[in-house]
Symmetry: C2
Subunit: 216 residues, 2 copies
């Protein structure tokens, strides 16, 4: 398809698409003449992912380029491609979480104990490199720093439930035909699904509260 059709089908202006091309967020179309290029469904899919990253994920253009570089690198196996793309997403840091203090050291030990308890061996092995591991440690450190009780035993069922959620995520991404599409879907799902899960969680808390105590 021509640029005008790509614009119409994606709902993005041609100026925006040209900007994404210049910034390396979208691969050039197949050159047909000096002034025209041909685009295909993969371009349309990619534009959807770029909008997800920039508009919903609040990811910077530079960070989006980094994420997409990993998504596109088919010299990597699926696990590394996915991991690298995920890790390149911005990681929320707890506002008070990054202080290197005793609470952070305790949190690191406790999270490792939790990973052992639930048998997440790979998550354990990759921990030192993993910004998602770091985010979890910081969140636990906030809780410890405030003096709330931390209890690995209490957290184990949560980890098992989140594993069930992840199994469902991967079953869903496997419905896409190619490795590239699966990695794209996994990145989009991370950005789009997290607020949906948080919203469901809060509604479920309220539903369960009414079931237990009535509306009083």
């Amino acid at each position: 398809m021509r640029l005008s059709e790509l614009s119409e089908r994606s709902g993005l202006s041609t100026a925006t698409i040209k900007y994404y091309l210049r910034e390396g967020l979208l691969a050039p179309g197949r050159r047909i003449s000096a002034t025209t290029a041909d685009y295909d469904e993969a371009h349309l899919r990619r534009l959807r992912l770029v909008r997800t990253l920039l508009q919903v994920g609040g990811v910077s253009v530079a960070a989006a380029r980094e994420v997409l570089k990993h998504v596109d690198d088919d010299s990597l196996g699926r696990t590394i491609r996915l991991g690298a793309a995920h890790w390149a997403l911005p990681h929320p840091s707890a506002p008070d979480g990054a202080q290197e203090d005793e609470a952070l050291a305790t949190a690191r030990r406790e999270v490792d104990r939790l990973l052992d308890d639930v048998g997440w061996e790979s998550a354990r092995d990759l921990a030192p490199l993993n910004p998602d591991h770091r985010s979890l440690v910081e969140a636990v450190a906030s809780l410890i720093r405030l003096g709330y009780p931390w209890n690995a035993e209490m957290m184990t069922p949560y980890a098992r439930m989140m594993h069930q959620v992840a199994v469902h995520d991967l079953d869903f991404t496997e419905t896409y035909p190619s490795d590239t599409e699966q990695v794209e879907a996994a990145v989009a799902a991370t950005i789009l699904l997290e607020p949906i899960l948080r919203g469901m969680h809060r509604l479920a808390q309220q539903e369960e509260t009414v079931r237990r105590y009535g509306i009083t």
Copy 2:
């Protein structure tokens, strides 16, 4: 205990505690003389919650005062107290989610269909008032607006899993002795647990990816 001891045990300076007193975030101590007041464990607990709201939750002083007003209102039943306190927390709005367009209307219908499917009757009844319902609708609208497939059937298992998480949350808050402490624990858990669940979810995705595809 005296102010100095409250400061030492809470790890907050006396200036900070006096600021919280002035702002109405902490109830005055029991007056002993013109210059001294007596504080108890409830003050200590409340300071922990105030720090959770301000330092970790990023809640403004005005919003925190609103949340605490509901936490303290023992003329309300537990459900309403909890609901009101939760609803007074800041609600993340999807960056592109608030536009009143066709996607938002579709999202509202689809979320209601989902609530019917999983039988969350109270969440359904309270929907028009509920900022958490609104956040969920906005998150679904983002997904629809980008042209990703939305599938209520696919979302039902997620809702059921988040309900299991909520059951666990409430079992935990019920370990606290009084209604006030339970409401306090529920508010703190919302702020502190959400980043922990998100971190666990991401680690679980990575763990499950390695289990399915190996490290390649």
